[in-house]
Point group: C2
Chain length 609, copies 2
Amino acid sequence: MSEGALASLKQVLVGKPIPSHLAHHERLTKATGLAVLSSDALSSVAYATEEILLVLVAAGTVALSYSLPIAFAIAALIAIVVSSYRQTIRAYPQGGGAYVVSKDNLGVPAGLVAGAALLIDYVLTVAVSAAAGIAAVTSALPALFHYRVWLCVFAVAVVSVVNLRGIRESGKLFAVPTYLFIVSMFVMVVYGALGAVFDFIGEAPYAPHGPGLEGVGLFLVLRAFSAGCAALTGVEAVSDGVPAFKPPEARNASIVLAWLGAILITLFLGITYLAYDFGIVPREHETVVSQIARHVFGGGVLYYAVQLVTMLILLLAANTSFADFPRLAFFLARDRFIPRQFGNQGDRLVFSNGILILGGLAALLLVVFRGETHALIPLYAVGVFISFTLSQTSMVRRWLRLRGQGWWWRAALNGAGAAVTGLVMLTIAVTKFSHGAWIVLLLIPTLVALFMMMHAHYDDVAGQLSLEGFAPPPPMTNTVLVLVGDLHRGVVKAIQYAQTLSPAAKAVFIETDPERTRRLEEKWAKWGMGAPLIVLSSPYRSLLGPLLEYIEHLQQHGDNHVVTIVLPEFIPARWWQQILHNQTALLIKGRLLFRKNVIVTDVPYHLKH
Amino acid sequence: MSEGALASLKQVLVGKPIPSHLAHHERLTKATGLAVLSSDALSSVAYATEEILLVLVAAGTVALSYSLPIAFAIAALIAIVVSSYRQTIRAYPQGGGAYVVSKDNLGVPAGLVAGAALLIDYVLTVAVSAAAGIAAVTSALPALFHYRVWLCVFAVAVVSVVNLRGIRESGKLFAVPTYLFIVSMFVMVVYGALGAVFDFIGEAPYAPHGPGLEGVGLFLVLRAFSAGCAALTGVEAVSDGVPAFKPPEARNASIVLAWLGAILITLFLGITYLAYDFGIVPREHETVVSQIARHVFGGGVLYYAVQLVTMLILLLAANTSFADFPRLAFFLARDRFIPRQFGNQGDRLVFSNGILILGGLAALLLVVFRGETHALIPLYAVGVFISFTLSQTSMVRRWLRLRGQGWWWRAALNGAGAAVTGLVMLTIAVTKFSHGAWIVLLLIPTLVALFMMMHAHYDDVAGQLSLEGFAPPPPMTNTVLVLVGDLHRGVVKAIQYAQTLSPAAKAVFIETDPERTRRLEEKWAKWGMGAPLIVLSSPYRSLLGPLLEYIEHLQQHGDNHVVTIVLPEFIPARWWQQILHNQTALLIKGRLLFRKNVIVTDVPYHLKH
């Protein structure tokens, strides 16, 4: 593909470049902010109830009634975490991600742990959301179940491309489906509850299970609780994204987070109650929410609409990570803990490298875990709760240090949050350890160690390049040599070029066959452009040996003396023709690259066909 | 591994470099010439009889008696081909390979067909010989049968390394085993025949089969004959290798070829007779020659010695191709039909590229065909007989053209050879087509087409680069720019370097953030080495756009005006650290490489740790 065609394809997919001075116009209103930043948390109601039921069903369908008290515990947890995070928003209007907050208050290692945990969770958010979104589709259209892995990967690809276009357009694109999801879930919960009470929606598949069963172990209940904690993932997205809001940023973000908490608790409790009331049992080919919706709406158009908007909000949830992952990577790159490439904005004011890596890793996870939500869940949430705990512990430290107005109750609120989320984190780590959490618990310290090694490297390089205490170097001198193997138009151009660099430029020829030397010298008289031709004899037919000896001889001229080797190189019109020509130039460059004070310059001669 | 350690390893494996002026001392005597160049033909007695029997046995063991008349026909064919080739040697003392001879007399396309056929057959010679050699070993040591594929590959690797050391040492290394093979086969045939007549070697496994059976189709007999023609492969090696002999080259080669013919016919007929007389039937795990030897020598030390020398001569046969393949590739490269890399001699006066490719392809074939001689045989021989036919037809044309002394009987002799080998070629192509010969018949025209395309490309490039009719270009002018993104020790070095190229060198900075520009300008006053700093603004944060615009602006200076972009680049001490740094330099080089009159020069700054 030509360069122009590639550029056009890029414009069609990701849009035209956006100038830097327009950066401010890409901000979020409260309404679009809710659509973009809270979809991760809200969408988890599509699978959180199911994950609780899936654990409990191991003890028989009678154990499913435990879902109600577990859901209440999780609702309380949501309330605590949301209240705690609203304080973070006010304290860190420039963006209070767990990485920044923990680094500020608990030190660099804590910040890096939070950062590593969040990076992992962002990847999992994309994978889990795509898997759950496609599960909503295959619940409605079972014929597609067989293709779910590729549908998941396709969904991730679509979201990646949308994000390469930039965040405001993503907001516009997804605002409508978010609100449709909220409305349709409310309708389903309210209509379903009323229908059950006033008996206008038909017989439920099972009767509700009687509560208070014996024989269900504490460990199983805790595992079910841990599984349900997936409902909390994404709550932190709002506080991470404060600077993306329109001014006043902190106030807008804080209001959006309160809305989010209220909606999340209502929907989660409502869905869990209906699942309990309808006696729903989790199935492999149909999600719990799909079963509820099918029962409430009777499998008609409304049912399909619910599945569609469920899929859309889950894609939007994946989208949240596409805003957060590159932003966190940017902070880490700015602080030189990860490669600097993540610090570059693309020409659409988005962090293209982060987006591409996130999409790639999520697609990989989906392929490895065969697109199954349930298989991915044990890896999820651990990281989120590590970052919750660190972030809120940080806030406690902050209030204790600053002691501003109302510091004691603020510290108490964040302290309660930290204690509860810390406890949940331990519960999740223990109960899900063997189901996959160990992978994340192994990955986090590995990432932290890598971050620290890279940081040390960058510090070292900066020190070596620093001009502080650098003695001004003596003037540099330069000998220019053209390495020739023949004399043709490309060589003539290279000689001319060398002569613009230094009037004393010389040509060097390595002799392997005296007959060839004689023929070259004949041509040289006419086409050598007046440059002297130095013939170095090579009894072993090696090109490099005699050249290196000659360079060493020249470098005795002085300490800051450079030898420039000009290499005539003809560039074929088509790339594959390159292999038909001697790779001598490449070989010479490779060998000279690491030699001190030798600089190799290719002079390309472009062939036309 | 360090460069020094690599060089030492290379010296241990392939020996010290040999200077060009010693080239003449690497020549072959008649005795070593027979060892090196006739082993391919001689070694085929180790499997040719077996291949005949394997075809005949399909019609029942009673059909095996047809092996005798078939063997006589093949012996006659050998006599004709050898006589014919002795004329080629005298006519082409500089090396009468089928490629050179056919190109000279029948034109380029015929030469390329012969060349393609021979290249393929050289690869097959290595593969078949290695497979048959390892079969000799596994016949004696059946426990190794399971590992035969890897033993084959290992054998090819050993022969490749020996050849990278150079041809004279190969001759010395293998002369003893060749003569041991000839002697041991003679002893086996004579002792076996006498033993059978005078009854001192025990009862044969079967009685000889009565001749003259009905019901064996002509097609089967022709297929058996085709299979046995594998005995002729390698006969051409002597005429290809004439220049490798000591002077008088042609006379020595001609004598060696006569010896070869006589020995080959005797051994082949003797072995086939013994197989017939002992009533031997081919088996999967033991070769026919092994069965004969076991019967003659009774399974003692002599038997094992025969198997060992059989393996050694087969490795030497593979070795013949390692002399011929690179030599033919050299001719093709010299005539610009294949990439020029094949025209380079390595530092041991051998054609290293050809050796490596031959060894690699043969190893690949052995893996694909599971190291089975019988599976490889149908691909073999077709190519050889195509080149026989072309080579001898060429000789007929030559005699008719030159009409020297005795031209008419010489033409008749070569004509008979051409007619017979042409007929055999058709027989092989038809009878073995579906068993694998089709692969070769498809590959030959494909290779010929590739050769012609490459030739056209090289001609075109030579035309474009030719100085004939080239108007001396106007004097070149040059603007030197240093592209800077920051100011550190590496940049200071690059500025100094640019100033040696042109006192008017300027630095260029692409502004994406005015604050950074301000900081840079502050540093510039102290460390800018007096070079002017040009700031190009980039509203879209693209580095390349503004740079390309500026270059275009500069190039309006004139037709032969070049812009040199000096890129400061720091080289980390360890290669993997490279990925931790911005790949901007690489990106810029990639984009500027194909722009006319722009030359990019890296100035490396080597970090210490």
